[in-house]
């Protein structure tokens, strides 16, 4: 190895705010060199500021890619991480790549479910740490058991997402997810017309 390789860009920064807030840096060999996670499903913007600072300290010139967890998740929190990931990549002059957040739950195989509020859960089939099906929405009390080739798969109701696993999933070829996985249309029912005020 020549002297230049030590400072060469080889690390991946990953950010996920689909459930709690998670920030990680993984080096080119797949070793996690920074990992912080707060499974607080609120206060994403608050947690993220400090985590990002600590993640980038001394590593700015080593980051070659930023990975963003694209959900599913509660919309407002989810967007904080995506916006931050994209802007961080812009600031570092490197690409940003979005992946499904459910890849950040296990490196094995499972039916991964996460709370997306309103008494619903989102679920995906994860095989060897990569999302192989989903995400789908289901009532929290009635998430269907996977069938066919995935019948009998262990179910994991995740309390948090590990951004380090997202970075590793990308290194292993996880599919790109360019837009946030909202799964629901924006709440905006056009009103039926003006309310009457006189009788």
């Amino acid at each position: 190895m020549n002297a230049g390789s030590a400072s060469a860009r080889s690390m991946t920064l990953a950010i996920d705010t689909s459930l709690g807030t998670s920030v990680a840096v993984v080096d080119g060999g797949g070793t996690v060199v920074f990992r912080e996670r707060a499974d607080d499903t609120r206060r994403h913007a608050e947690h993220l500021g400090g985590m990002l600072e600590r993640a980038l300290e001394g590593r700015r010139s080593a980051i070659e890619l930023v990975v963003a967890g694209m959900g599913p998740g509660a919309f407002t929190g989810l967007r904080v991480g995506i916006a931050a990931a994209r802007a961080t990549a812009l600031g570092l002059g490197v690409p940003c790549r979005g992946v499904a957040s459910h890849a950040g739950v296990t490196t094995g195989s499972a039916q991964v479910t996460t709370d997306v509020r309103r008494k619903e859960r989102a679920w995906s089939i994860v095989v060897d740490g990569l999302v192989a099906g989903g995400p789908h929405l289901a009532p929290a009390e009635a998430v269907p058991a996977p069938g066919g080739a995935h019948a009998g798969l262990e179910r994991i109701d995740a309390q948090g997402v590990d951004a380090a696993l997202l970075a590793l999933a990308v290194a292993r070829g996880a599919a790109e997810v360019p837009q946030a996985l909202y799964l629901r249309e924006a709440d905006a029912v056009p009103s039926a017309g003006p309310k009457r005020v006189s009788r």
Binding site: R43, H44, A45, E46, H47, L48, G49, G50, L52, E53, L56, R60, F75, T76, G77, R79, V80, G81, I82, A83, A84, A85, R86, A87, T88, A89, L90, G91, L92, Q179, A180, Y182, A186, D187, A188, P190, S191, P194, K195, R196, V197, S198
Partner: protein, 349 residues
């Protein structure tokens, strides 16, 4: 020392704004609006606005840098709107600002949107004379401020207790079957109308309101009065005099706004009034303000329209002022404050 170059990010409502200033010099002012996405709902839908901010943010930052012929290497600090505004919308700008500032190791200032509207005037090329009364009217806010010092002494004299003035225009436009946004469509409809045809109520101007609501606004009663008028015409099977209703409604809004602003000028002995916010695009508002300020001996300041509507340059201007004063940046853990008070210029916790 050269004045600091600050990039400002604004996402408090439906405009994704990114501006760049050097001290008080305007270098770029890019705005991506999601307005047309809200048109069929007759008003800003917060979740639609937030989704649009997320997609518009990076392209708008790039466009602003290109407009200023700059790269991120030229930026000395980042400022972002911390509030007041729609929480989900604000959060997109704050997430992006934290990412950008942290990646570039730049100081980040979370600043007040309302103070930004006042600071916009420093970019118009002439020094802002203080103290001044400021009337900020948009779809999201209707506020009357006493500004003694932009960077630390801004007092909220009054604000709307129900609808913002811009919202009143939007809702009334719907009642009259006019298009969104309501400001321009009511303006157009009012052109042929008689502003004195209907005596619509002036909210919170009765003597009994003087003590508690002297400088507060209320537009819901006015909206209800218009609705009643429309329904009465319908019930009677008469055609609705849209032009007269639009003109009379607009006159009522403008009258209350300017009367209260000038009352604040007189009460505080401050012969200066600054206008800001998107409703300033309303020609009748500017006309009445010009006439009555002249009569009252009050100097009127209206920044160029592209600096009156929500924009990132005004946020950058606040940031530049804080940097110039040597103020410390906001802490890494700051968050959106959808109800941030006018007297908090910068969030420090």
């Amino acid at each position: 020392m050269k004045a600091p170059v600050v990039l400002g990010i604004e996402t408090s409502c439906d405009e994704t704004g990114v501006g760049i200033v050097r001290g008080t010099e305007l270098l770029a002012n890019r705005i991506a609006s999601s307005m047309e996405l809200h048109a069929r709902f007759g008003g800003v839908v917060p979740e639609i606005a937030a989704r649009a901010h997320l997609e518009a943010m990076e392209p708008t930052i790039r466009a602003a840098l290109a407009d200023a012929s700059m790269t991120l290497d030229d930026i000395d600090a980042v400022a972002v709107t911390a509030g007041p505004g729609l929480a989900g919308a604000l959060m997109v700008g704050i997430g992006a600002a934290k990412g950008l500032a942290t990646a570039r190791e730049l100081p980040l200032y979370g600043v007040n949107h309302l103070v930004g509207h006042v600071a916009a005037d420093v970019l118009s090329g002439e020094p802002l004379e203080l103290p001044t009364i400021a009337l900020l009217v948009s779809g999201g806010h209707t506020s009357l401020l006493l500004v003694r010092d932009l960077a630390g002494d801004v007092e909220l004299l009054g604000e709307t207790i129900d609808d913002a003035a811009g919202e009143a225009f939007d809702k009334t436009a719907r009642l009259l079957g006019l298009s969104y946004p309501g400001g321009p469509s009511i303006d157009a409809a009012a052109a042929e109308g008689d502003a004195r045809a209907i005596a619509f109520p002036r909210g919170l101007t009765a003597p009994k309101d003087r003590e508690r609501h002297r400088w507060n606004f209320s537009f819901s009663g006015l909206k209800t009065a218009v609705a009643r008028h429309v329904e009465r015409a319908e019930a009677a099977g008469e055609p609705l005099p849209v032009a007269d209703v639009a003109a009379s409604f607009r006159e009522a809004v403008v009258d209350v706004l300017i009367a209260k602003a000038l009352d604040a000028c007189a009460a505080h002995g401050i012969p200066r009034l600054l206008l800001g916010g998107g409703v300033v695009a309303n020609a009748r508002l500017r006309e009445v303000a010009t006439e009555r300020c002249a009569e009252a001996g009050v100097t009127l300041r209206i920044p160029p329209l592209e600096l009156c509507t929500d924009n990132g340059a005004m946020i950058a201007a606040v940031g530049a002022m804080l940097v110039a004063r040597g103020d410390a940046p906001s802490p890494a853990g700051f968050a959106a404050e959808s109800t941030l008070e006018a007297d908090t210029v910068q969030v420090t916790a």
